[in-house]
């Protein structure tokens, strides 16, 4: 290597590292400011008035907010449960069975909800529920969340199934295990990290959704993000900072749990 080239290389590496740390600063500084101000006694968002837990106490005493939290958890759990079962079955159908009628149609249908924007998903479901005469409620929210979650679960589980060694299932079959036993004792344990990863993704997407929910919700069935969205549009208060901090903490727990599943899955594959 010539001396000149070594200099260029050092310069490129320094620029890459600088870009890297600036991006991390860009990603984390806004969140850090938000969390910091949620503990500020000053009513004015953006100026520090000493440490206080006041906004967290107010948040807990806010009945409509707490009701929307309960709705959110209910919607997220129900939609995750259903979409995980349906999505996993769909992934098996596509990955383990190569030849069946309209397989290609199903494959395309399963991918569409991932690539269309939230807004279109929201208005089409609103039009559909109105056309078939269903009144909007928690039920329509759950049904809509399942509709966009199935695809995400299926994609995650499919990736896991594609990486699975098929000889494991063949070995089980050779040892006279029936289809159900092969699935229960061999396939399911191996793809479990994928299934749980897909379920966590579904849970996160459900807890994140604002657009679809705000169009298909009925009276009194608001979820937490939609409720907070309404608050933000009216005014910015330290109480919203407190709610936001709690939501961020919840997301972080989900990331850690999901990474835990992945790590467990990887170590199993090595074994």
């Amino acid at each position: 290597m010539t001396g000149e080239e070594a200099t260029t290389r050092g310069w490129v590496n320094r620029a890459l590292a600088l870009n890297g740390w600036v991006v991390f600063l860009f990603l984390y500084a806004p969140i850090a400011v938000l969390v910091l101000f949620s503990f500020s006694a000053d009513r004015n968002v953006g100026s520090w008035g000493g440490f206080s837990m006041e906004w967290y106490q107010r948040m807990l005493a806010n009945d409509p907010l707490m009701r929307s939290l309960r709705n959110s958890l209910l919607v997220a759990l129900l939609s995750t449960l259903v979409s995980t079962v349906l999505g996993t079955a769909a992934a098996i159908a596509l990955e383990r069975y190569r030849r069946w009628a309209t397989r290609g149609v199903f494959d395309a249908l399963l991918y569409l909800p991932v690539i269309i924007p939230d807004v279109t998903m929201a208005v089409m479901l609103l039009m559909w529920f109105t056309t078939i005469g269903w009144s909007l409620s928690l039920t329509t929210i759950v049904l809509s969340h399942i509709a966009f979650n199935i695809s995400f679960v299926a994609i995650v589980v499919r990736a896991r199934l594609a990486n699975m060694d098929p000889s494991l299932e063949e070995a089980a079959a050779d040892l006279y295990a029936g289809r159900w036993r092969t699935f229960r004792r061999v396939t399911l344990p191996v793809i479990m990290p994928g299934v749980l990863g897909g379920a966590l993704l579904a849970l996160t997407l459900s807890l994140d959704d604002v657009v679809v929910t705000s169009l298909v919700q009925g009276p009194g069935s608001t979820t937490l993000p939609v409720f907070v969205f309404g608050l933000i549009k009216r005014d910015v208060t330290p109480e919203i900072n407190a709610v936001s901090t709690v939501m961020l903490a919840a997301s972080m727990v989900l990331v850690m749990v999901s990474l835990g599943f992945q790590r467990r899955g990887d170590s199993e594959r090595v074994r």
Binding site: R9, I31, V45, A89, A90, I115, I116, T120, I240, L248
Partner: protein
């Protein structure tokens, strides 16, 4: 005798048994797919079709949509100048956001993927995953606080005299979109660069390619799947953005997403909203298919 020959013999011996087992497999495949299949037809395919139907519907004097009195008014309104302005603004912001995300995200993903120690790579990756999984509304709200009239960013701008109050303007919406979707660009890029076969880059260097030539002719083409996936993941939600322009933008920064939702809430013009949604949906699907095709050909 190889396995294949054995199979062929079995087939020859009992073709009907073989055919029956193929049919049974086909049945089982469909059976596994059936619950999700039916669900997606009822709660996705039919709603998609109803958008098309509603786009030709009419309205009562109070704005209630009526399935009947079919007309093309919804599509006729698409030619109005206000739509052209909003569509142009949305396309511009989405394209700009995709380009800037790629410009910042590529060197960023490359930097993480080329760290020597696996533990460093994993740690940096987790630091990207956290914002990726964090609540999108909350992350957008963080910028609402920063850009508020007495927020930290505005104060820095006042002190240095570099910028004024940005809240409710187009730059604020752009920052929100960039902040919101950057992790969506970085993750697929990282995945593509990390699994790259580095011996090919070394081979190019051995053949006297400069570092830049090796990057441009080997690394970049090999990481193209990541570039395509990341661009789609950023461009489509940016084009349909609703939360970001609603929180950080104002009346002059309405984007397609807000405009469509308005037709279904206060605007009360479902046929028009449906026509607009249908056109956007079709355009996006065609663009996505074309993008995938072009990528597949060169890879």
């Amino acid at each position: 005798m190889t396995l294949l020959d054995e199979k062929a013999t079995v087939e020859a011996v009992n073709p009907e048994l073989e055919a029956r087992s193929v049919r049974a497999e086909a049945r089982r495949g469909l059976l596994h797919a059936l619950p999700a299949y039916v669900y997606l037809i009822v709660f996705f395919a039919l709603p998609l079709a109803i958008v098309f139907v509603f786009s030709f519907a009419s309205r009562t004097s109070t704005g209630r949509p009526v399935l009947g009195g079919w007309n093309l008014d919804g599509y006729a309104r698409l030619a109005e100048p206000v739509i052209r302005t909003i569509a142009g603004r949305s396309l511009w912001l989405a394209a700009l956001n995709t380009a800037i995300c790629l410009l910042i995200g590529y060197p960023f993903a490359y930097w993480i993927a080329t760290r020597a120690k696996a533990s460093t790579r994993n740690l940096l990756l987790v630091l990207v995953l956290i914002p990726f999984w964090s609540n999108f509304l909350v992350r957008t709200y963080a910028w609402r606080v920063l850009l508020d009239s007495d927020g930290p960013v505005t104060r820095v701008g006042e002190v240095t005299g570099l910028w004024g109050s940005m809240l409710f303007t187009q730059p604020a919406v752009f920052i929100g979109l960039l902040y919101g979707y950057l992790p969506f660009m970085v993750l697929p890029l990282y995945a593509a660069i990390e699994r790259l076969d580095w011996s090919l880059v070394e081979a190019a260097r051995d053949l006297y390619a400069t570092r830049w030539e090796a990057f441009r002719k080997v690394t970049l083409p090999l990481s193209k799947p990541g570039v395509i996936a990341g661009s789609i993941l950023v461009f489509i939600p940016s084009l349909g953005a609703y939360v970001t322009p609603d929180i950080l933008g104002g009346a002059k920064t309405t984007l397609l997403g807000n405009y469509i939702v308005t037709q279904f809430t206060s605007g009360r013009n479902w046929p028009f909203g449906a026509a607009l949604s249908f056109v956007i949906l079709t355009a996006m699907l065609l663009a996505t298919i074309a993008y995938f095709r072009s990528g597949a050909k060169t890879l």
